[in-house]
Symmetry: C2
Subunit: 268 residues, 2 copies
């Protein structure tokens, strides 16, 4: 047995039976980055590589008991939060995570790539009140950013820039806002922008790959949490997470008759 | 994107938040072996590296919908079944898995290493009626083998040999019985014995490692299913699974204050 003990990275997310996204994607990404993954499942989903057909939030008493039991001997060095299906879970998660005082990455999952709604309608404003203020980084895509922005300010501008929307989120307490652009636009490059306190965003540019991919967002946010758990500062953790995610997408496969490719998270 | 499409291996098991065992262990082992892992979670557990404190079977209607949705575009080439918490789930699983006609590995999880009961009391006899007959291989440890044997025959012998007990299970339909011996005895070697139609068992001998380990059984059975999914014949799949599991135990780590070491499943 090796004596070196890897940091623990806790993933809190929904379960995707197809294995492309959700808690399975998180566990694989965290392990591939070199951390030990612990996990809490917030919801079951009926989904495959085509779409999400049903979401079943799990009873919160059981979840909270699981979290407390876990923290007793496996305290995490960072946390990744994905799907939080309803307000009740968001509220006690915020309560229980505050005392940990470790970096939290929030992937504000609201709608699936295939169009199916994953979280309840009012979750954007609930996340804004509860978990967003605790975050080191939130990782919305363009759609999620707009929804969060509308929930963050009383008079949202219809044509607000990415910088304006990111500022509105940062004003609510999260230190960084990584806007993922993989799903947006047809050009040959994708750009993820991370807005922090600095005067301009950190830019992560990758060649666009032929998609669609099922689970790229989960893979990115889990990698980011893992690299923060390993002690990297935010810009370096972001660069490492972007690199690992791009590698997973490059190695992606379409098992059987799958409609979307599944990222393959491989220790490099 | 790579064009080669890895075989799908479906894991059906409970969730262990600590990440050593359960569905997380299965997903990691299946991915490391080179398959695409899909998964179905039969039960949530409150557990950490010390023991299991509660088991919460998940509502079966949702589970069955998940399975059917999954099979529609990601049919598996092999299936691993771990914790089946109650008779109802065992019965419809058997119904839905028969038409697949792929190798099934059944890890008949009944009691946790720490002593906590995972499956309902009568599950040994229910497994015997429902899932055991469908199996390519069952992978009981010594304790589980005795419990299954007592459920298999009307007049169990108190001092039945491993061969006798394995025969009783094989008489109910499963083709191979791999008896795992890692938890048994203090000697410097561990021996796993696989009884098949052959006159003597296949023997897999490894140097005993300093344990206890949390999730070695899950890792072995998931590896075995993955190597069967990749098309290996049983003796070779067993040898590969034993080798991969031993490597995962050699690389095991104790994160934070964990009481038991967690196998580390690394693509070799």
């Amino acid at each position: 047995m090796k004596t070196a003990s890897p940091p623990v990275c806790l993933a809190i997310a929904g379960h995707d039976p197809s294995g492309g996204a959700g808690i399975g994607a998180d566990i694989e990404a965290i392990g591939a980055a070199g951390c030990h993954a612990t996990s809490l499942i917030t919801a079951l989903t009926v989904q495959n590589s085509r779409n999400v057909y049903a979401v079943q939030p799990l009873p919160q008493d059981g979840l909270r008991a699981q979290l407390r039991c876990l923290l007793a001997d496996l305290p995490p060095a960072a946390v990744k939060i994905g799907l939080v299906p309803n307000p009740a879970i968001a509220r006690w998660l915020a309560e229980d995570l505050v005392p940990l005082n470790v970096p939290i990455v929030l992937d504000p999952v609201l709608v699936a790539t295939g169009g199916g709604r994953l979280a309840e309608e009012d979750m954007a404003s609930v996340l804004m009140e509860t978990l967003l203020p605790l975050c080191a980084v939130a990782t919305p895509n363009h759609h999620e950013l707009r929804e969060l922005y509308r929930a963050a300010v009383p008079d949202p501008l219809p044509e607000a820039s990415l910088a304006t929307m990111a500022s509105a989120l940062r004003a609510r307490g999260c230190r960084g806002v990584l806007i993922t652009g993989g799903d947006d636009g047809p050009g040959p490059w994708t750009e993820d922008l991370c807005f922090t306190h600095a005067p301009w965003p950190l830019v992560y540019r990758q060649r666009r790959l032929k998609g669609p991919f099922h689970g790229s967002g989960c893979t990115l946010s889990a990698n980011l949490a893992a690299y923060l758990a390993l002690g990297h500062a935010l810009p370096e953790a972001l660069a490492l997470a972007e690199e690992a995610t791009h590698a997973a997408l490059l190695a992606a496969v379409k098992p059987a008759q799958a409609a979307q490719a599944m990222p393959r998270r491989i220790r490099r």
